[in-house]
Amino acid sequence: MKRIVLTVSALLVFLVMPVRTPAAPVNYWFDRANALYEQQAYDSAVVLYGKILEAGTTSSAAFFNLGNSYFRLKKVGLALLNYEKARQLSPDDPDIIANIKFANSAIIDRLPENEKSFAGAIVVRLHTLFPLQTQLWMIVILLFCLSILFSLFLYTSQNARLWIIYGSSILFFITLSLGISAGVKIYSREQVQYAIVLSESLDAKNQPNGNKVLFTVHEGTKFRVRKALNDWVLVSLPTGVSGWVQVSSLGKI
């Protein structure tokens, strides 16, 4: 029995323990790129930040700094693309949010934002309160608590059971809310794809290789990718307007 407990514990420790550590040159490149940025050598900084990302170190800090370098090079589309990638990794980072807002004020296209009701705004605020990873850990902890409460419920007296039911109900509600929110986020990450216009302007056509221009968007505009067909993708703006554009002019987030 003791042996089994030890094995399970070791396995858990092994799984929970962070096993991946970044390679040393990555941090060196990062410091070097930052130094180049300070010297306003933005082109060189872009190359080094890109090297870090190519090495597989997908870090929000690397994406953020790369976005800043592109912004200084007046490539708003690429800047926004990297800011958006950084936001996916660190959704609650205030620096990233501020820079996205600022870069968006420098693009040509102004798309109307959906107005939210008071209740809608609260729901959205709660939904975005915690990053997905934090939410998943909270769900795991809450599920453990619920399982312990359930076990206690089985072995305790009638009076204590009432308190356990109250406590479990609250925990269950919180777990359920967190679960739904996490589910929506996971669905969004798996199913919804966004892209940013990288070319100066981009004509959306009525069909792949079509002649009719439905609308024109400019560098930095973000839209949703709905469908892909060879070198063309069907994109839609928040206004609901859709059209086919060439994938080479886009940067997928």
Partner: protein
């Protein structure tokens, strides 16, 4: 009934014997004397002694005397067995029936022609027969149901809409049935005729009849309307179209047969009313269509009466906020005759593609089409934005001139936008950004890079951790259930542990078998077996005689084979106890094996598995 059958005139029955093949052909008609407007059914019967292949349907030649209203065909097979002089012969006949419903075109007499068909290279023909068409009766019948076509305007311009009304009327007391097939057939024929020169659209979905009084006579009439737009010029004609209906004829027997007199004349028993298929022709129409006068520049071909209206909401906005510009365009023509409206280029405004809604209403005055456009316009500069008047040219057939339709110009007042957004240039230099007191936030420094993922849910840790709470809950529940079972039945634990305990004792005895004194060895073995039996079968085996133990065990369903093993084991022990044998090493091993075998057998028996 014989009388009823005699009403059907058998005009001609011509049988042509085929040489080498048993094929015969004949033609019959239900009557030879009819009134104009009445229909005649001709049946051609082709009988063959084998199944025929290919197209052998007799064709009715085109003629000026009658129209073929409908054709149909059917086939059946019959066989007969003949026994003559002890020889059995089987004959198979396949009958092909071809039905032709014809409607005479004029009064007088005409000859229904011979109909021919070719089978395997040989031609078979029916004989022609005469038909007489009377006048007086025809007029009387035509008045019981009538069909007519009228058009709202007989002089039109190309592209102008007119209304075509189809009216079918019957006298209120007429013994006729108007059915859907009749109307459907008439409309299909009419639409086919009209499609050559007109774009016709139905203005009805369901047919409704009305009762009215015309010239003091009560009439039931059904009206249907079409929107008619001529596509070519000149004198265009719409020929008359037939309307098929069913006339109900009262049949009364006068044959002196009391049975026929009673049942034949009583509708309750059926056969009192005969249904006769009839049709009536509508009048034809001629419409003069004139070409349009020479068109001015910008004319897109729309003919009719149109209105256009443009509006904006709100009329005052801050720069950068959207304004909805609505354009409503109405006219009495088809949607594809109305041109598309496009918003002109607006300076300092961003115009998004419009939201378009097209609706078509079918009214008693014809088709009314409405096109609504909603443009989202975002003014970028403070000041006044004017959406200019939209103009469009069409032909007014009433005034017979080209007219230009123009909407009112719409003015939108644009106030200062939020935080100067509207006047911001595309790229801001660092200097310009500093001037407005803002810049992007500085790069992140002093950070140790870690590989992050935006899909933490794919981490193995969560795959392992998520099921654990559920397993804990399940384990607790199962443990609780087990505990309760043990609490309820204390012997359950003993029963469950009996085999393990017995095996444990036997294993320790086996280890020390050579060192152990004989009485102790036997006592240990007996104790192990007795304890096992006691715990497993729920009775105190210790102290019982062998017979009592056998009785208890057999009472608990233990098979004789196990009982024999039990007896053999305990008798072997008794043999040593009573000094009948010595307890040497081989005897000890034998005893041990017997004990193990007994326990294993009893365990199997308890589990319900025979040894």
């Amino acid at each position: 009934m014989r009388k009823l059958n005699s009403i059907l005139f058998v005009l001609f029955a011509c049988t042509v014997a085929a040489f080498g093949q048993d094929i015969s052909i004949s033609a019959t008609a239900d009557k030879t004397a009819v009134s104009l407007g009445e229909q005649i059914q001709v049946v051609v019967q082709l009988v063959a002694n084998k199944r025929l292949s290919g197209n052998f349907t007799p064709q009715v030649p085109k003629n000026d005397d009658f129209d073929v209203v409908s054709t149909n065909q059917n086939q059946n097979q019959s066989s007969s067995i003949t026994l003559a002089n002890g020889k059995m012969t089987q004959t198979v006949n396949i009958t092909y029936l071809f039905y032709y419903v014809i409607s005479p075109k004029k009064t007088g007499a005409f000859t229904f022609p011979a109909l021919s068909c070719t089978v395997d290279g040989a031609t078979y023909s029916t004989n022609p027969f005469a038909i007489t068409v009377g006048k007086e009766q025809a007029q009387a019948q035509a008045s019981e149901v009538s069909a007519s076509l009228t058009v709202s305007k007989k002089n039109l311009y190309k592209g102008e809409q007119a209304l075509l009304t189809v009216r079918v009327a019957q006298k209120a007391n007429a013994q006729v049935q108007l059915n859907e097939q009749g109307f459907g057939g008439m409309f299909d024929k009419l639409e086919k005729e009209m499609s050559k020169d007109f774009a016709a659209s139905r203005l009805f979905t369901q047919l409704k009849g009305v009762h009215e009084v015309v010239n003091g006579e009560r009439i039931f009439s059904v009206k249907a309307q079409y929107s008619l737009v001529p596509l070519s010029t000149g004198l265009l004609t719409i020929p008359g179209v037939p309307f098929a209906y069913i006339a109900l004829k009262q049949v009364r027997s006068r044959g002196g047969d009391p049975f026929d007199d009673f049942f034949g004349g009583n509708p309750f028993f059926g056969g009192g009313v005969q249904q006769v298929q009839r049709s009536v022709m509508s009048n034809g129409l001629s419409i003069q269509v004139s070409p349009l006068p020479p068109a001015p520049a910008g004319f897109t071909g729309a003919v009719g009466t149109f209105t256009m209206n443009a509006s904006a909401d709100p009329r005052q906005v801050p720069a950068g906020d959207p304004v909805t510009v609505s354009i409503l365009f109405k006219g009495n023509t088809r949607p594809n005759s109305m041109p598309e409206i496009t918003m002109p280029q607006l300076a300092d405004c961003e115009v998004f593609p419009p939201e378009k809604h097209v609706s078509v209403d079918t009214t008693p005055n014809g088709i009314m089409c409405q096109k609504a456009y909603k443009y989202l316009v975002v003014p970028k500069q403070e000041g006044t934005t004017v959406i200019p008047a939209l103009t469009w040219t069409y032909f007014d057939p009433v005034a017979r001139v080209y007219k230009t339709l123009s909407s009112e110009p719409v003015t939108v007042v644009v106030t200062k936008g939020k935080s100067g957004q509207a006047s911001q240039t595309r790229y801001l230099t660092q200097e310009e950004i500093r001037q407005v007191g803002q810049d992007i936030r500085y790069i992140k420094t002093g950070v140790t890079l870690k590989r992050q993922t935006d899909q933490p849910y794919k981490d193995l840790v969560f795959f392992v951790l998520f099921p654990l709470p559920f397993l804990i809950a399940l384990f607790s529940f199962l443990y609780k259930v087990q505990s309760e079972r043990y609490e309820k039945d204390s012997s359950l634990i003993l029963r469950r542990q009996a085999l393990r305990k017995a095996n444990k004792v036997l294993a320790s005895v086996s280890k020390q078998a050579s060192k152990m004194p004989g009485p102790e060895f036997c006592a240990k073995l007996a104790e192990a077996c007795e304890d096992f039996i006691s715990h497993k079968f729920g009775f105190a085996a210790t102290g019982k005689t062998l017979d009592e133990m056998k009785l208890e065990l057999s009472g608990r369903g233990v098979q004789p084979s196990a009982l024999e093993l039990c007896v053999a084991f305990f008798e072997s022990l008794d043999a040593y106890r009573f000094g009948m044998t010595t307890l040497d090493a081989s005897y000890r091993i034998g005893l041990l094996e017997k004990a193990q075998k007994l326990i294993a057998e009893l365990e199997k028996q308890k589990k319900g598995k025979p040894a």
